[in-house]
Amino acid sequence: MSQTKQPHADSQKKRWLKYGTNVAIVSLVAIAICALVVAISQMTGRRLDTTSQRIYSLKPQTQNVLRDLKGKLRIVSLYSTQTKPDSRSDPEGRFAADDWPSYVQTVSDLLQEYKRTNANIDVELIDPVNSPAKVDGLIAEVTSRYGGEVKKYQGFIDQYPKQLEQIKKMANEEATAIGKLSTQEIANQDVLETLQLSADTVAGFPPLLDRNQEAIQKILKQKPPDYKGAVDVTQQAMDTLSAMLSQIIDGFEKLKADVSVPPTIRQYMVDSTPRYAAIKKSADDLLKQIKDLGELKLDDLRQSLRQQNTILVLGQSDLKVIPFNKVWQEPADMRGYASDVTLKPRFAGEQQVTSAIVSLTREKKQRVVIVRPDGAPLASPGFPPFVPGGPMSQAGARLTDLNYEVLEKDLSGTYAMQAQMQQMPSAPDATDEQMKDALWVVMAFPASQQRNPMMQQPPAPLAQKLQEHLDAGGSAVVLISPGLGGEAPDLSAALKPRGIVASTNAVIVHEAMQDDQQTGDQLDQARRLPFIFDINQYGDTLMTRPLRSLASLMVPLVPVSTEPAKGYTVTPIIPIPQNVKTWGETDIDALSKGQPSKFDPAVDQASPGFAGAISQAEKGGRLVVIGSPTFMFNRYLEIPEPTLARRGTYVSRFPGNAELFVNSVLWASGQDALLAISPAAMEVSRLRDMGNGELAMVRVLIVGGIPAIVLLAGVMVYLKRRD
């Protein structure tokens, strides 16, 4: 029996080996092929965004930015599903508790798209409430990455108590000395007050510094430690001490020569002044050390953790914090468009994150100077809602978001002087040095007759300054104004050599539209006015191609033509619509008074072709001329799309205005990679209102009805099979 089994066992073993090896190899090959197919499909895969608003597709501008991204970037969402904005920061209740998770999800989805688009981007979603351990990890990472600054702060906090002890010791000694003085004979009130201040300072500060130390210890126990806060406490104390000591020393200097002061007191003042100066020197030394500490990136993180619902973009050597209100922006004032709806916040996450990436990866921050003939600054952000921003504050903010340094220049110099006289804060004008390598945005408005009387000579004409800037290889965006209400600056000396001619003596008008029905809203009716144009074609250039079919509103338009210029490539932009008769009206005053205009072939310009042009010098300077002076002012950018406004969503009705301006600046400053339509607002549909009974019925149907039908079917099958 055993003799017959032995060969069988051998053959089974052999079969196991033979077939088993075969199956193992085939299986491994199959797994390898599968992995290869998945990897290839991953690398060459296409993504189809099936949402109607393409909300999961990064916009072209972002894709351009990410395509050029070389270094590693980390984006961290600190949104929590449990920390919806409270009623203080959201008084109108735009962020309903039920809806809040969808806002968190939207941010998460957006960041995942960044990660998917570029392998150099890593995305982390941290819910600070649910995952405190992850927050600790993030703090450790930020501390180690930007450790240099933290070490400086830690070093200061470690060593400054010694200096503080020295100050306390000197103050205590001085308190003892001043305590021995008799003040009964002093009649002079100034002397009494100064001595009282001295006594209060030297006696009061040591316990105050002790209390500060306790507060600092508490602050340092926070997560992450608030080094900046701790240093700020010390700085505040030292500032106060230094100021009080200055006052005391000044008082002593004045009084020690006063013979009406008792000699013992005068002697004390003489003797103690160097001691007070020594204490002040110690306080000033500490203040200087604090000043030298510089920025603290960890503090940005700490602030962002405190603010809640922020996004961090961590670059190689710097980090950007995108606060909640930048990502979810308050809609513009839409009274008159949708007064009866609560507007949803506008999602500007992609624009903000992309801007942060641009600012972290761009080697040099470029400067834009808005040059105006006179008047108030145009792009100042103001302090909303208390102080409104300038008329083009939104355009300025867009440039700042794209990491431009935005400065302004008042050629007349009158505004700064007037502001100074009225004690109004005014941002300093750009210096000549700053203007040298900046991109100029020239607002060619007619200048008023005001001039700074302090200026020895009248300012150089705008054309001359612009010409010098362009001749030196600079670039500019020039916004041409017609000669309305004054003489428009003649820039031909700067523009003509570059192949561009702007006819500031004319305004482009179209035939008056006759419509008895007066349909449409106020804006539709306004567009029938001859000098108002609704533009959606901008020409076929690198700068304007991405704007194709975006609507913009232009009021008014100045004819701009081109001519060949040696050394320059000149291309017209902003073609004038040809579906109606248009001409360049030269009777601008009559037009401004609302008088009907009629084409006069003798003086008017027939069929102006374009309202803008771009010129690129072979040497590299770039010039954009647009025949509309105010198209990027807030009043045009804030006009909402009325249909979406009625649904509670803010979307700009004329997105082309802002895009044309931003693209002009990007092109003129050589940022060709960023030329694209910027991220747009998103819109979602919501369930309509329904009664409680209706809602309950639907819920019963869903949770009970459908499973009950299945149960019934199962019972019927069971009964049928049993029979």
Partner: protein, 238 residues
Amino acid sequence: MSVTTTIAKRELSSYFFSPIAYVAMILFLAACGVAFIDDFRPGQVVAMRSIFDWMVWLLVFIVPVLCMGLLAQEFSSGTVETLMTAPVTDQQVVLGKFLGAMGFLLALVLPTLLYVVLLAIYGRPDYGPILSGYLGIVLVGALFTAVGLFCSALTRSQVVAAVSAAAFLFAVTVIPWWVRGKVILDQWISKAVDQFVQTRYADFSKGVIDTGNVVFFIACTVLLLFLTIKVVESRRWR
């Protein structure tokens, strides 16, 4: 092909005679219903994303139960011998059973189309993400079914098959998702975690069809069916 279809039909009809399938179906639809009504309130976003996310979690446990008997029962009851001696190939058997189980899975998901009807009545749903969500569920369901079938081929015990399949699906679906939510990962670990089911499926549920993800689910399903065929074949030489 007709043999495969016959086996598939037989499997599908056997589901409708099985009380376990009905229980699984009732539980699945009740759980989906609860998830759906949680988001079905006036003013809420018209979307089925959360329900699609829930479906995957439910399928992790329901599919193993539905698939546990596909081959294990044949092995334990000895009917596999009859099947193997019949004029059918192993491929036809495995494919037929897979298609039968997939047919039941589709029947399981089909009633949830009523949710779409309700969304259309009470809002303006964006149909693109709904279609992509259902496509994702079908692809994930196919992969899960293939896993269930593979585990069922490895053992005679239906319980072992169900538990091992559920454990495997839990490991490739829930654990990577949980790890990603709790720990800061190195970039390469993070990338590895993203290769698993939940991250890939999340694209479908939000409305993005990535060909890479489609290929992943199809390729893994085909691979598991191939391995199942090899396991079934091995009974001839073991």
